[in-house]
Each structure stands twice: as structure tokens, then as C-alpha cells.
Amino acid sequence: MTNNLIAFLNSIFFHLFLLAILTIDFSIFVPKPDREKIVPIEFVSLPRMEEIRLKKSNDFLSKRIDDNIKVEKEIKKTVEVNKKKLGLNSLESLRKQIEDTKLSKEKKEVQIRISLIQKRINSIWKKPALINEDIQTEIQINLAPSGEILKYEMISSSGNKIFDDSTFRALSNISFITEVIGMDRKYFEKNFRSFNLVFKSKD
């Protein structure tokens, strides 16, 4: 019973304490304003909402463009630095340069010899009269650096004996392929020491 009474009294004191806190006027600690002083107010026209949005988006875009230009400049700068490092102008020219290096000496020389050999063999090969047959005979030729034909053998027949014979007849007329004389020994060994002649019935 006494416990209940104590709890009741505590509750009354707690609520009265809360009420006192809420009602106290703290303004007694703050100096009171001068009520006589007039404060002028200026009316300024505010921008419309659309204009605000547009401005914001323009600002955003120009910022993005500026950023992109910056990135681009940076890329270009990096590429230029890399190019300078490699001593090249572009990827294409890199490829071209590689090809040119290859072509410059060996390929050019080999190409010249090939066209000379083609001209020579064409001039001695009496192609048989064949109609509408698209066939070819492949003959492997082994050469000495002097151009002497050491050996030739058919590695793939056309299936037509007359055609095969005509190619052998052409080769039997020559003992030397003089067109390879005087070329760089390395190029000779790589290309002409052993090569194949492909005789075709049609162009």
C-alpha cells in the first residue's frame, strides 16, 4: 500500500517538474529588442523554375564537355608520348613498316626472280590443246646456286598424261635456271633451293 502511495507521489512530482520546465520563460536572460526600430524590406523578382533547371543542365553539360576535352587531350598526349617512344606514327604505318622491311630486300628480289622464271618457262612450255579442263601439275625443282637443275619430280599429277608430259617436255629443254644467278645466297637458300612450279591449264 505504502509502495503504491510512493509511486503515486513520484509520478505527481515528475509531471509537475516537466510542467515547470516547459513553462519557464528563458527570455529573461536575453536582452529585449528595440521595438521602435523599423526594418525596410526589399522585394526582388525571383527566376522562374524552368530557367533554373535549364541553367543547371547547361552548367552540367559544359562541365561534361570540358571533362571530355580534358580526357581527349590526355589520351592524345599519351599516344604522342608512346609514338615518340616507339618512333612510329600509327598502327597502320607500323604494319607497313614491318611489310616494307620484309619487302624491301628479300621479297623484292624474290619477286623479280619469280617473274623472270615465269617468263622463261612460259616461253618454252607448249601447252597441249585441251578443252575446258581446269587441271594443274605441280613439279618440285631442286636447284644449285649456279642455277643448275639438280632434280625435278612431279609431286602432284593433273591426271592427264598428255598434260603432265608437256610440263616435263618443257623442263627437259633446260638444264639451268639462270634467273637465280647472282642473288643473295640467304635468299636463294630460303626460296629457290627447292621450289614448286605449278603448271595450270587455264589462267
Binding site: I121, N122, K126, A129, L130, I131
Partner: protein
């Protein structure tokens, strides 16, 4: 990075394939052939070797070596020395000997050598009468030609053609392929056209206007007997014998519109195979007798069409040029020869059936009626010089062009006979 690139270059170089050089044009020079005078036991006999030489060089496919340049006249394999012929750069040599058996009968043994390869490529013999030297030479020439080229020899084939010696005189003639031994099969004051050989070599079909309208006749070459095809149409033309000798394709106009018909020679029935309102003409059989090429203006200009006989399915073959006509198949059935015209200039052309491209092969400009040799290697066609018609020819490899001996009068529509077995 640089190191990597160098490594790549090195690798690509090492894995490169073996060098291959393509040769496809070949020389424009003709193969050199030496026909050595045959030995008949007493002296060298030039009569037979001269005939063989004339045959083999007829179409300009070989260059003959003059006899006075030959270092020796061998007559058997034992006394043939390759060295003697290699020096002269001879490609092929033909030698032989003649033995007289009884009276006029001759036994001839002959050999053909591939000189650069040092190889005997043909050994043959033949028996015949001394008066048949020309025929014997043709047999030897055919066999030699086949041994050298792999193609059938055509020296004993014949040519049929229309001869127009003067105004209102027309003759159907048959001669040897060199123009000799001309025989007149039929002569008329009315126009004659379109000779065509039967594949058994016994008959010739042609068109005659002797009754005032075009009518197809089949004439027996040995008896001379003529027979016309009875049809309902009033205008019949362009007969062509099928290679299996069972049918005759021709053009008939029932109501003024020419269409392609086939006459069955066994049951004598006629079947119609085109029905278009355009003009369909100039049929030509495929080697297997299952298809026909014909010329039609159904697309607005003359073009070549192919007809499958069993289904009557028609397919256009030529697309280029404003005039393509008179087509016929090569013996392989895959290529055709035709007259190809553009802006009033007409050339002989060849074409693969499956490709679009037409290859013009003649240089003259008013060419017509090409006929293909039975071995498919030579084309003879009619052409004109100052309104005078004559026959010209060429080999398909383009190495040789020739004209056949000029006749007295205009020559038209050559038709090459089939191979004589």
C-alpha cells in the same frame, strides 16, 4: 614491345610455305613435228610422209620440219637417235617403213617419238592398197594426233555445206575436211539450207524450198534416196539429228509462229516442245540427247535458251549482248559455241553454260554458223569478204586461224560430220 614485334616477324618468316611459281600461259610457238620419209626398202618414200604432214599441219596445230633440215632418215626404233632430233629442237618425230606384200598390198609400220622426253609414244601398223595411200595417211595421222594430243583425230571426217556458185543455183556438197573430194548431194534452183549429219554418218537432213515452201528432207548418202518429213505445218526448217540417232529436232510454224518440235524417227510421231508466242528456232542437241539449245526472241532480242526435253523446262543461257544465236554444245556438254552480236558486229564466241561471260574467239566481223569438230578442238564457221561467203576456222587454244580453200561461189552453213568409226 619492340622485342615482341621482332619475334613475330621472325616467326612469320620461319613458318612461310614453300615457294610456288604458277605457269599458266604457255608458249605461243607451235609444237615442232618431223615426219621422216618412210623407207620402202629401195629408197625413201616421200608420198606417204607428205600426206601425213599435210594432214597434221592442216589446222595449223603443228609446225613441220623441212626434210632437208633432217640429219638422218631413220625407219625403225633401233636407228632412231634422239640426239639428232634434239639438236633441231623437234618435239615429235614420226618414222616408218613400207613393205610391199603381194601386188599392190602394202604393210606399213610406224613409230611416233616424244623427243624431249626420249620416249616412244606410239608403235602402229596398217595394211592397205597402194591406191588407198590417202586413206592410209589419214588413219596414221589420226592415231599420231591422238598419241600426241590425247584428242581424237579428225582427218577422215567430212564437211557438208551449201554452195551458191551463181544466182539461183544452190548445191548441197560434202567434201573431205581439207576441201578435197567434193561431192554434190543435191542441186536445186530453189534455196537449200541447214545441212545436218546423222550420227551414224549415213544420212544428211536439210531444208529445201523446191516446192515453194521450206520442207525438210533426209537423204541417204550412199543411195542418194530422199525422204521428206510429212507435217501439218507449212513451214519446216532447221532440222538437227540427235546424237543417239533416234530423233530429229526441227522448227515448224503451225500458225505463223515458229516453235521447236521433235520428230521421232522410229514411230514417226511429232511432239511439240515450245509454245511461246515469240520465235523459237535453231535447235541443237546436247551430247546425251536429253537437252536442246535454241534461239528465241521471247525476251525482245535473240538469246539462247536451254530446253530439258523430258520436262519441257526452259532456262535462259545468255544474258550479255543484243544478239546471241546459233548455239551448239561442245562434246563435253558443259560449254557452247554461238554467234555473239553487238551493234551489228558478229563474232563467234564460246561460253560455259553456268557462267555469264562470253568469250569471243573470232577476229572477223560477219561470222555465222559455227560448227565444232567432233573432238571439240576446232571451230569452222562461215564468214564474208566483200559479200563473198567463205569458210574460216580456228583452234580453241587460239594458236591457229585458217581459211578453207576458196570455192567458186559463196559457201554457207558448214556442218562437221561425226567421227567415223
Amino acid at each position: 614491345m619492340k622485342f615482341l614485334i621482332i619475334c613475330l616477324i621472325f616467326l612469320s618468316a620461319t613458318i612461310e610455305a614453300k615457294l610456288k611459281i604458277e605457269i599458266s600461259q604457255g608458249s605461243k610457238d607451235l609444237a615442232k613435228i618431223a615426219i621422216v620419209p618412210f623407207n620402202d626398202g629401195k629408197k625413201t618414200n616421200t608420198a606417204l610422209s607428205n600426206l601425213i604432214e599435210k594432214n597434221l599441219t592442216l589446222f595449223g596445230e603443228f609446225k613441220a620440219t623441212p626434210k632437208n633440215e633432217m640429219l638422218s632418215f631413220p625407219s625403225s626404233e633401233d636407228n632412231f637417235f634422239y640426239r639428232d632430233w634434239n639438236i633441231l629442237k623437234i618435239d615429235y618425230a614420226v618414222i616408218g617403213k613400207i613393205e610391199e606384200k603381194n601386188n599392190s598390198e602394202l604393210y606399213i609400220e610406224y613409230f611416233v617419238f616424244n623427243v624431249p622426253l626420249k620416249k616412244l609414244i606410239l608403235r602402229g601398223d596398217i595394211t592397205g592398197d597402194i591406191n588407198e595411200l590417202s586413206q592410209i595417211s589419214k588413219v596414221i595421222s589420226n592415231r599420231t594426233y591422238k598419241a600426241i594430243t590425247g584428242l581424237e583425230g579428225i582427218f577422215n571426217t567430212k564437211l557438208a555445206y551449201i554452195l551458191n556458185p551463181q544466182k539461183d543455183i544452190y548445191k548441197i556438197c560434202v567434201s573431205d575436211i581439207d576441201g578435197s573430194n567434193e561431192q554434190i548431194l543435191f542441186e536445186s534452183t530453189a534455196p537449200l539450207m541447214s545441212p545436218s549429219w546423222s550420227s551414224d554418218y549415213k544420212k544428211l537432213a536439210y531444208v529445201s524450198f523446191e516446192k515453194g515452201y521450206p520442207e525438210i528432207y533426209m537423204q541417204d548418202l550412199f543411195s542418194g534416196k530422199r525422204e521428206s518429213i510429212k507435217t501439218l505445218g507449212l513451214s519446216n526448217s532447221a532440222p538437227v539429228w540427235s546424237p543417239d540417232n533416234k530423233k530429229l529436232a526441227f522448227v515448224m510454224s503451225m500458225s505463223g509462229n515458229p516453235d521447236i518440235y521433235i520428230y521421232n524417227l522410229r514411230n514417226k510421231k511429232i511432239s511439240r516442245h515450245t509454245t511461246h508466242y515469240g520465235i523459237d528456232t535453231e535447235p541443237s542437241w546436247s551430247p546425251n540427247s536429253k537437252k536442246l539449245l535454241f534461239t528465241s526472241n521471247r525476251s525482245g532480242s535473240p538469246q539462247i535458251y536451254e530446253l530439258t526435253i523430258s520436262s519441257n523446262r526452259i532456262k535462259r543461257i545468255t544474258l550479255d549482248g543484243d544478239y546471241n544465236a546459233r548455239a551448239s554444245y561442245f562434246p563435253n556438254g558443259k560449254d557452247i559455241v554461238l554467234v555473239h552480236g553487238n551493234n551489228g558486229i558478229f563474232h563467234i564466241g564460246t561460253k560455259k553454260i553456268r557462267s555469264r561471260f562470253i568469250n569471243t574467239i573470232s577476229k572477223t566481223t560477219l561470222d555465222e554458223s559455227p560448227t565444232i569438230s567432233p573432238n571439240g578442238n576446232i571451230i569452222i564457221y562461215a564468214t564474208k569478204n566483200n559479200s563473198q561467203g567463205y569458210l574460216a576456222g580456228l583452234t580453241l587454244d587460239g594458236k591457229s586461224k585458217f581459211t578453207l580453200p576458196t570455192k567458186f561461189g559463196s559457201v554457207r552453213e558448214p556442218a562437221w560430220s561425226p567421227l567415223m568409226n
